[in-house]
Symmetry: C2
Subunit: 121 residues, 2 copies
Amino acid sequence: MSNALSLPVLEPDVVEPCCPPLTERPLTAEESERTAVMFKALSDPVRLRLFSLVASHPGGEACVCDISDVGVSGPTVSFHLKKLKQAGLLASERRGTWVYYRVEPSVLAAMGALLTSPVRA
Amino acid sequence: MSNALSLPVLEPDVVEPCCPPLTERPLTAEESERTAVMFKALSDPVRLRLFSLVASHPGGEACVCDISDVGVSGPTVSFHLKKLKQAGLLASERRGTWVYYRVEPSVLAAMGALLTSPVRA
């Protein structure tokens, strides 16, 4: 059984980006379920602001210890950062006391591409 | 008083896009309130799918009469299209019996730009 410990831990909550630009073809039901999760993560004003704080932080990462002046408590900040991680928008790493969050650039780029219209002939 | 009738009707519900890329600087509280509304409009799977149907429809516009196979009733389709309009993502025009919806390309482009990382030095 000890071999099993070396297997990577799956994170079923983390969402993978998908799909062509929204102007190219209609999304399937499955694609829209998957993609809506990412938009939902950015649909709360506090969470969106926290995401921009992490995304624009020097070094490209931030912990709860770096975040103040958002008008919500530390535990609430942690809660929202976890939600962003579950939606696949942030990755995290524990170092000592703190968990550091950084933006997943590929996910952000995929979301940006979804909203970008290809040039039409 | 009759002169007042020729004044344009303001649409206080319609949201204007704003703000630099999320990776550039933290959003202010006001900017995040404003921007979260647009992400919220795309955070429902049915609404996101309807948006992609309108966005990718030949001619760039669609009415409820063009939309089927999304698993919800006509009135529900109308409800979601109105929500997308209130969030500033769709514009509409009535022609005869039907209201035609089309994507606001500038709003879509602004949302795409928000999620696009500038190249870092």
